[in-house]
């Protein structure tokens, strides 16, 4: 694919073009991640490097770490939300992270096609993803009974709250990635084991 075809719909600052506060924000991410090439999703924030740095920080706090939910469950939620929101970039990235967190190739492939039956889920994980679907499609329509099903499946209140933060985080990043048109990295298809 040519560069023109891969260009985003809204302009971003590429690694090589970054200067001043944008270069400083990119370096902030490089130091935090230990990686060199700034991912497409973060380059979407280059218009506001101050916000970019904050996005690096809050993503580390709530997504890229164990909390009330494990990192693996967070990647499961993030992948499924990205599938539901039709975000190929985020789906590939987080299905890749799900694999890194120990999910089998078959389970990752199932999540990528929205197949909960093939995703090797425990009953509790399945209940969680059914709720993720409701909250992603129409959060305003969720009911106290929907949340009670999560409690009945064994999820604690803090875990349910954190799941909602992850659902919302991906609602945000899915929209950013799709509005800018960030090219998919195909990490899963390429069989990558490191980012």
């Amino acid at each position: 694919m040519s560069d023109a075809e891969r260009a985003t719909k809204i302009k971003v600052v590429e690694d090589a073009d970054a200067a001043g506060v944008v270069a400083e924000a990119y370096d902030y991410w490089r130091a935090s991640s230990g990686r060199t090439k700034v991912p497409g999703i973060l380059k979407c924030l280059s218009a506001r490097p101050d916000f970019l740095k904050q996005a690096v920080d809050f993503s580390n706090t709530i997504q890229f770490s164990d909390g009330y939910l494990t990192r693996r469950h967070k990647e499961l939620i993030g992948s499924y939300v990205s599938y539901l929101n039709d975000c190929p970039y985020c789906l590939d990235s987080h299905a890749f992270f799900l694999k890194v967190q120990g999910a089998s190739d078959a389970a990752v492939a199932a999540i990528m096609r929205g197949d909960l039956d093939g995703a090797e889920l425990t009953p509790a994980e399945r209940a969680l993803l059914k709720y993720v679907e409701l909250a992603t499609k129409a959060a305003y329509r969720t009911t106290p009974e929907d949340v009670q099903k999560l409690r009945d499946a064994g999820w604690k209140e803090e875990q349910i709250a954190e799941a909602v933060y992850i659902i919302a985080l991906f609602a945000m990043f899915n929209r950013i990635a799709n509005a800018f048109g960030v090219p998919v990295q195909n990490y899963v298809a390429m069989g990558r084991t490191t980012p």
Partner: protein
């Protein structure tokens, strides 16, 4: 809710206004780091009562602090867009997403 008040509300309000579905940490029950961050918000805003949206984050005060910070950076201030245009966008997105709050 009185009948005349209901008329001012969109019809989907009946779905949303069934009370809290997931527990929030209320002002009076906040302890530890949650109480610290709630106090930080009160000091910054000059207001006393935590807004409902921020209390949704009471379970993770570290994340709440970051949410407050980036909201100030990108929304509650002038940027490449004026604050007024940001509120216009936010109001319309909230209408489209059926979020009466």
């Amino acid at each position: 809710m009185s009948e005349d008040k209901k008329l001012l509300m969109p019809d989907y309000i009946q779905d949303v206004s069934r009370g809290l579905k997931i527990k929030q940490i209320q002002d009076a029950e906040a302890t530890g780091e949650t109480a610290v961050v709630y106090d930080e918000w009160r000091a910054l805003s000059g207001r006393k009562q935590m807004p409902g949206i921020l209390k949704c984050f009471g379970q993770r005060p570290d994340f709440l602090r970051q949410v407050m910070k980036f909201s100030n950076t990108v929304h509650f201030s002038e940027g490449h867009l004026s604050r007024r245009y940001k509120e216009m966008i936010a109001s319309y997105v909230s209408y489209l997403n059926r979020c009466p709050y």
